[in-house]
């Protein structure tokens, strides 16, 4: 078992959070986008990161996933400190993220998009390409089999040979998630997975997220759709003005005066959304 795998089972037992950040700050040209965000993401649960627009949610996600550096603060995955690690290193620890605006690898086919995801591919080494073609071919077949399973699950099997740039918006969103799943993440960070998506697809994606939780993946999702948050999330973190405002279950937070104030003008009563 890998070192991270051992840490995971330990964390599970001791309830060490899967992902933790303390006092994250980030400023852009003097404007503080994030000003002291601290929270724990519980292991094996679905956590929502909510807050009014401009609260710094996407910036926090970028920092957590290594796409941006922070000016101050610390971040931990399990027991390992990953503050300001570049995104590829964070990804190799098992944190996968999706993007708010789907970023498909346009020139590659849908299947190839997934095949990029697995780590430690023997075929990425030049020496192996020259000297061990058989090994590569075998690995490719294994990966392709698994990728086709994933595609089937997400309803993208028919599109396996289509170039990713030709997909519709909803299909690209599914591809984005499927690709992250293919990398066997331990933590999956979804940036507004339901944004701009029709209600039927929302149901489907919600179902996939629940299935992922049931197979042991920790999920963090940035989301505006509080109806979805109420239905599938176990835990909620509220961010406002770049700081953690409150944490807990959504039902509790709705009673919280500060949270209500932060959302002033925005409807947080889920039943009214329908």
């Amino acid at each position: 078992m890998s070192q991270v795998g051992v840490l995971d089972s330990v964390a599970q037992t001791l309830r060490i959070p899967a992902l933790r950040c303390e006092g994250i700050t980030k400023a852009f040209q003097g404007v503080h986008a994030v000003n002291g965000a601290s929270f724990d993401i519980p292991n094996g649960q679905i956590t929502a990161l909510i807050g009014p627009n401009g609260a710094g949610k996407t910036t926090v996600v970028n920092i957590l996933s290594g796409a941006m550096t922070c000016d101050g603060g610390r971040e931990f995955i399990g027991e390992t400190e990953v503050t300001n690690w570049p995104s590829y290193k964070v990804a190799r620890l098992g944190l996968m993220r999706t993007f708010q605006l789907s970023r498909e690898l346009g020139g590659l086919t849908v299947l190839e998009n997934l095949l990029v995801a697995p780590a430690h591919q023997a075929g990425e080494s030049f020496v192996n390409v020259l000297l061990r073609p058989g090994l590569i071919r075998r690995q490719e077949r294994e990966h392709a089999e698994r990728a086709l399973q994933v595609l089937e699950t997400y309803g993208l099997y028919e599109l396996r040979d289509s170039r990713a740039r030709e997909l519709s918006g909803g299909q690209k969103k599914l591809l984005e998630i499927a690709r992250a799943v293919m990398a066997s993440p331990k933590i999956l960070v979804l940036d507004e997975p339901m944004a701009g998506v029709n209600p039927a697809l929302i149901e489907r994606i919600g179902g996939y997220i629940i299935d992922l939780k049931q197979s042991g993946v920790t999920v963090l999702m940035v989301e505006h759709n509080l109806n979805v948050v109420e239905r599938i999330c176990d835990y909620v973190i509220v961010l406002a003005e770049g700081r953690t405002l409150a944490t807990g279950r959504l039902s509790e937070l709705r009673e919280n005066a500060e949270v209500v104030k932060a959302y002033l003008g925005e409807v947080i009563d889920a039943s009214a959304v329908r």
């Binding site: 990804a91 990029v116 990425e124 489907r204 179902g207």
Partner: protein, 334 residues
């Protein structure tokens, strides 16, 4: 007539190699290497000075002069280009996004050109290297005339070998990761790929090919000087790539055929227009530029577009449908 055809054949296969090198850098990985011809020149010069005897004997000024035989000097020339690429990549790749990288690289190309032109003791300055020993000429008793067909065939063989290696690379996960980086390097990094390291590998492989191509040039012609590699020559290789079809090894060959052979070298055999020396050559190069622009406008994927890699090529059967407890059947609790 024979020598004319075989000269064209030589340039066809040589530019095939050069295009493959640029393809792995630009077509596959998306690195806009505007200094490509500089690496070709390094390969040519080093191949030359590895096979020329000591400079004391030849009346030229250059470094090294080790008198090594073919193909050792050629391989060393390729390695020299590769080391130069390592140096350049370490300084520039990490810090610069595409257009700034292009600026720095083209500046590098101009400075390198300037430097080789002026610093005579390096590679004989503006005169360049000449009387470079022809490979196998003594051993096989080749005359000046029979050397041309012979070496054209040698080049063809070398290029096919290099094509075999390159197609392995592009078919492998390595090639796929290169293309992922080309399409969106942020996503590639988010998926755990060390983008810088992969880009570096791409630069090294491509530069090796550039060096080999350059080395073959100096061995074929017996000489090499700065006029052979004005920075604009990089553009001709780009034209080969884009006209033929970037990201595609067959496209490289087609591009080499169309651009290098037909456009560049065929007209060189036309008679000169009296009173206007070099006019045909100037028209020719301008035409290459126009052809490239037309190609980019009307058919940017090139004559031979990038191959679609189908699922079937991975040798998998259709996965079983709906195993018990498969994902996708759960929906959100109401």
């Amino acid at each position: 007539m024979v020598y004319y055809v075989f000269t064209l054949v030589f340039f066809l296969f040589d530019y095939f190699i050069l295009a493959m090198g640029l393809n792995i850098q630009y077509g596959e990985t998306g690195i806009l290497n505007f200094a490509y011809i500089g690496f070709v020149a390094i390969g040519a010069y080093f191949t030359g000075v590895f096979s020329l005897p000591s400079s004391l004997n030849t009346g030229q000024h250059y470094i090294l002069g080790l008198g090594l035989p073919f193909p050792i000097n050629l391989l060393l020339g390729g390695l020299a280009a590769m080391f130069f690429a390592l140096f350049v990549a370490l300084i520039t790749l990490r810090r610069l996004r595409t257009d700034y990288l292009a600026i720095v690289l083209i500046s590098l190309s101009l400075v390198l050109y300037d430097f080789c032109n002026n610093y005579v003791s390096l590679f004989n300055g503006a005169d360049g290297l000449y009387n470079v020993p022809e490979p196998f000429a003594k051993a096989l008793g080749l005359t000046v005339n029979s050397f041309i067909p012979f070496f054209a065939c040698v080049t063809a063989v070398v290029s096919l070998l290099m094509w075999f290696v390159m197609s392995r690379v592009t078919r492998a996960p390595m090639g796929r990761t290169f293309r992922a980086i080309r399409d969106d390097h942020v996503v590639a990094a988010a998926l755990g790929k060390n983008v810088f390291w992969m880009q570096l590998k791409s630069m090294l492989i491509g530069s090796f090919y550039a060096g080999i191509g350059g080395g073959l040039l100096i061995q074929f012609g017996g000489s090499f000087n700065p006029t052979a590699w004005l920075p604009g020559e990089t553009f001709v290789v780009f034209a080969v790539l884009i006209v033929g079809g970037a990201g595609n090894n067959i496209g490289m060959f087609v591009g080499a055929l169309l651009v290098e052979t037909l456009l560049v070298h065929l007209p060189a055999f036309l008679p000169e227009i009296p009173g206007h020396p070099g006019l045909i050559e100037y028209f020719d190069l301008a035409l290459v530029g126009i052809v490239l622009m037309a190609m980019l406008w009307f058919r940017p994927q090139g004559v031979v577009p990038e191959r679609l890699r189908r699922a079937a090529s991975f040798g998998v059967d259709r996965p079983l449908a709906e195993k018990p407890g498969s994902m996708g059947e759960t929906s959100i609790p109401a």
